[in-house]
């Protein structure tokens, strides 16, 4: 599922980053999906169970199809607010008792919404597995959705957005960017909602939304860790076999359309000392078959420290602390995006340089040394992304969610090893937008950069304090 934003407190800082593209130089056979069991319940729920016994923990990940893309147009943030409300009491426990039950055993459960799903994940010590299943089942099937909790959570979430606008501007450019590129398409919706959208949600709407959008037929529950499948399977099956289906059918999003030409969205942050910029267009879906050359090329372009982009904006010029690019791959093509930031005075220079690097990518810059280095990097880091039970839970859940076969993981290293220069060239031409087909988003001091930005294309302007992520009227 796509980039997940955490705005739970001002102290959960961070972090721009390179989509850590995983990988390895030796024996391709070293990363294979361990044995696991897939159980399809009659109500549509899918359970995936994988034993791993290195530490006495059990990790789980419950993915429910839907997410922000099912938010009503006037109620942006419904999925996000519902996810948070699920944590506020369920079954026989009110909000405090529910939190106490988790904390008392040192467990964690966190729910959040993304563009295409609501995810509930966490981990427990193995001895507490029965409690973990009970809490998770209650949370999904018997949440209290109490009005008073709804009221305070909704206010708090609006204030988290305001706090992010005070302190975490870099994390917001992808939200403005998705809204600008995808427009009315469901992928343009903010996964965390907006101040205006959240304020418009009523308790009645949200409880309706819960019944419409959550149900067994939307659920993929992956549990990985220190348990015996024979013990856990009946427990989980019993806990979820009785859940109803969602009252609305899930409809897959339509494929979005690439944007042609270049335009600029300027978000005015008058007191900011830096400009935070984002450039993107529609990329590829999760099932895109040429993933290996795509990842190798994106890694050398903007997915590691010595990438072309970071070399130009950080290493050569010292204009920025960092610059990176990534593909957000969903059921349908999500965004390809590049992000960076620089002091206000060098905004135009830095954007020029970033676009110049995009131009160089299309001017056949990739040579064998660059390609081999990128392949080795993606291969070498791959095992580190599949080390823990939580990582395996997420990876297995993804395979099921996106309908991918196990070759997606098992054949990953072989596919990377087979990438040729010709593959790389083809993927650049077919899948990486050219510099004149990018939508730009810049958060910064508009008075200082407005005029300079005009050369990049028509400029639309809004204020950082506006209560939504798209200019008014859109």
């Amino acid at each position: 599922m796509s980039a997940r934003l955490l705005l739970r407190s001002l102290t959960l800082s961070l972090l721009l980053c390179f989509a850590a593209v995983p990988s390895l130089v030796f024996a391709a056979a070293t990363v294979q999906i361990p044995k696991y069991e897939r159980i399809a319940l009659a109500n549509g729920a899918v359970l995936l169970l994988m034993e791993r016994h290195d530490v006495p923990l059990i990790a789980f990940s419950a993915d429910l199809r839907g997410g922000a893309m099912t938010d009503p147009v006037t109620a942006s943030g419904s999925a996000s607010l519902l996810a948070n409300l699920l944590e506020k009491g369920a079954g026989s426990r009110d909000a405090f008792a529910f939190a106490d039950a988790i904390a008392a055993v040192g467990g964690t459960i966190a729910a959040s919404a993304d563009t295409e799903s609501i995810n509930v994940s966490g981990s427990f010590l193995n001895k507490d597995r029965a409690l973990m299943i009970e809490l998770l089942a209650d949370m999904l099937q018997r949440p209290r959705l109490a009005r008073e909790e709804f009221d305070s959570l909704r206010s708090r979430q609006i204030d988290f957005l305001r706090a992010a606008k005070d302190s975490d501007l870099g994390s917001l450019t992808p939200i403005y960017g998705a809204a600008a590129v995808f427009g009315e398409h469901v992928y343009g919706k903010s996964p965390i909602g907006s101040e205006a959208g959240l304020a418009a949600i009523t308790h009645e709407q949200l409880t309706r939304y819960y019944r419409d959008q959550l149900g067994a037929d939307r659920l993929i529950l992956t549990i990985v860790g220190d348990f015996k499948t024979a013990d856990l399977k009946p427990l989980v099956t019993k806990a979820f076999a009785g859940w109803r289906k969602a009252e609305q059918p899930f409809s897959r999003p339509a494929p979005p359309t690439k944007v042609t030409g270049r335009r600029v969205l300027l978000v005015d942050a008058p007191t900011s000392v830096q400009s935070y910029f984002w450039a993107g267009n529609v990329g590829v879906s999760r099932a895109f078959p040429q993933r290996a050359p795509l990842d190798v090329v994106n890694t050398l372009f903007g997915g590691r420290f010595t990438s072309l982009l970071n070399s130009e904006l950080r290493i050569r010029t010292g204009l920025s602390y960092g610059a990176s690019s990534r593909f957000d791959r969903m059921l349908e093509p999500g965004a390809w995006e590049l992000v960076s930031f620089t002091k206000t005075a060098s905004t135009i220079e830095a954007i020029d340089l970033a676009l110049d690097v995009v131009g160089r990518l299309h001017a056949d810059i990739i040579d064998a040394t660059m390609l081999d280095s990128s392949k080795a990097y993606v291969q070498g880091q791959f095992p580190l992304a599949l080390e823990t039970s939580a990582q395996w839970a997420s990876a297995l859940g993804d395979l099921e969610f996106y309908g991918l076969d196990r070759g997606y993981i098992d054949q990953r290293l072989n596919a990377l090893a087979a990438v040729t220069l010709e593959d790389a060239r083809k993927i650049v031409q077919s899948q990486f937008p050219t510099a004149d087909n990018l939508t730009l988003v810049v958060i910064g001091n508009a008075a200082a950069i407005r005029e300079g930005l005009r050369k990049f294309g028509p400029v639309t302007e809004m204020k950082l304090s506006d209560p939504s992520f798209a200019p008014q009227g859109k």
């Binding site: 001002l10 102290t11 130089v25 904390a103 590691r304 290493i315």
Partner: protein, 447 residues
């Protein structure tokens, strides 16, 4: 401060270490350590779940070793360690490393600078060659220094200048220490970032980047004796040097609350409290960790429940213990709603602190804190990275990596009385600095 892609705002309860003794007994015996002839310590812990290795080089130098005029130098140095040697061009360290399938990062704190590599096991010798080369042959190219100065200033703008709560934290920390260098922000004051000279860098390197001031930790798919032999081959010939000057300054006991206000343009108010705490190696550290979990770790903690859930005075309440070679600060952070009442939030916070000082905590709370620490310990043990971090932290900050394996007993020994006594001693208003970021009109903030 980190070199690469993220800036850690040190603001969550330090994750705890608590261990089931049976499992740990096995683990302790798996660790091998050696001290090279030049004084460099090497610690190796095999873990063969994946064919990779996590390497951490802990250098005992941080902003604690700085002075006015050169603040931020330890962190700047962390950047310069990637920018070329007498045998390798600037950028070669990264390009060779990545071409061999490895990734790296680095971070600087008040006390230490940590260099990290995550590599496929086949790349170990290449990585050792690179790491030894930069310890021995670092170069100082004027052009590179200027470019990196720009990068560091960008990092400062991103992590501090464009982040009101970080700016407040910087001011609170500076106010809390009148004598000890813990008052220096690790990223450095702006004027100093603009002013370091190449000679400052050379002197800093010569003094602090001594092999005898480094602890090398390796966890992953490796053979301990072969790894130590390889470390000898690459690192042992680097001559020992003097090492950092001892820090003799002790912060005088604070005798009255200090207050800091930051006027800036922000939509949401912030209140921070920083009490003088203890050093990392203090035997009361496990007691403090459990106390902090009870007060500020998660939705069931006292401060979250009272201020966020019940009274709705704050939208988040967090805590963090800064404990280094010397006594650091015990932090609490409140983020308020846009129309929040700073005075009311502060009053409610004070009431919670007074309650814990007067009555202590409950048996159930202590049990919960222990369980949270135990589960977090295992979460940390799930990765080679987590193990390298924990091992290094105990070796460097607490003086002996084996203490990691004694942690369960230490936590088990913590009593209700000890927690109450510690809360009574530490959490006195006379020993704290309070920082407030009120929401003010833009015009006033700009004046």
């Amino acid at each position: 401060m980190t070199r690469r892609f993220s800036v850690l705002l040190a603001a969550c309860v330090a994750s705890g270490v608590l261990i089931g003794s049976s499992a740990l007994a096995a683990s302790a015996s798996e660790v091998t350590s050696a001290t090279l002839a030049n004084g460099m310590q090497v610690i190796v812990w095999p873990d063969r779940d994946i064919p990779n290795i996590a390497l951490y080089n802990w250098v005992r130098v941080g902003s604690r070793n700085e002075a006015p005029g050169i603040t931020g130098l330890a962190h700047f140095f962390e950047h310069m360690m990637f920018n070329g040697t007498s045998t390798r061009q600037p950028g070669e360290f990264d390009s060779v490393l990545e071409a061999n399938g490895a990734r790296n990062n680095a971070s600087t704190s008040d006390d230490v600078t940590i260099y990290q590599d995550w590599l496929p096991k086949a790349a170990l010798e290449t990585v050792f060659a690179l790491e030894a080369d930069r310890l021995r042959n670092l170069a100082f190219e004027p052009k590179v220094v200027e470019s990196e100065r720009g990068v560091v200033y960008s990092e400062r703008r991103n992590s501090v200048d464009d982040n009101p709560s970080s700016r407040l934290q910087e001011q609170v920390q500076a106010a809390a220490f009148t004598a000890h260098p813990y008052g220096i922000p690790t990223i450095g004051w702006p004027a100093d970032i603009e002013s370091w000279k190449i000679d400052d860098l050379k002197e800093f390197f010569q003094r602090n980047y001594a092999p005898n001031n480094c602890t090398l930790v390796l966890v992953g798919d490796l053979e301990p004796q072969a790894t130590i032999a390889l470390a000898r081959k690459y690192f042992e010939a680097i001559p020992a040097r003097e090492g950092p000057k001892p820090i003799v300054t002790k912060e005088p006991v604070q005798a009255g609350e200090r207050r800091v206000t930051l006027l800036t343009d922000a939509q949401t108010p912030v209140v921070q409290f920083a009490y003088h705490g203890m050093a990392s190696a203090d035997p009361r550290a496990p007691t403090l960790e459990l106390l902090m979990r009870i007060l500020a770790d998660g939705d069931a903690s006292r401060l979250h429940r009272a201020l966020v859930e019940e009274q709705k005075l704050a939208i988040s309440a967090d805590g963090y213990v800064q404990a280094g070679f010397d006594p650091g600060l015990v932090w609490f952070y409140l983020s308020l709603p846009a129309d929040g009442d700073v005075a009311a939030a502060e009053k409610s916070f004070d009431a919670q602190i007074e309650t814990v000082r007067r009555d202590g905590v409950t048996k159930a709370e202590l049990a919960r804190a222990r369980n949270q620490a135990l589960a977090d310990f295992w979460r940390g043990q799930a990765t080679i990275d987590g193990k390298a971090d924990a091992l290094g932290r105990y070796a460097v900050m607490k003086g002996d990596y084996r203490k990691l394996f004694d942690a369960p007993q230490a936590y088990e020994r913590v009593t209700l009385d000890e927690i109450k006594k510690l809360a009574g001693e530490l959490l006195q208003s006379a020993f704290r600095t309070v920082g407030v970021l009120p929401v003010v009109a833009t015009a006033e903030a700009k004046q």
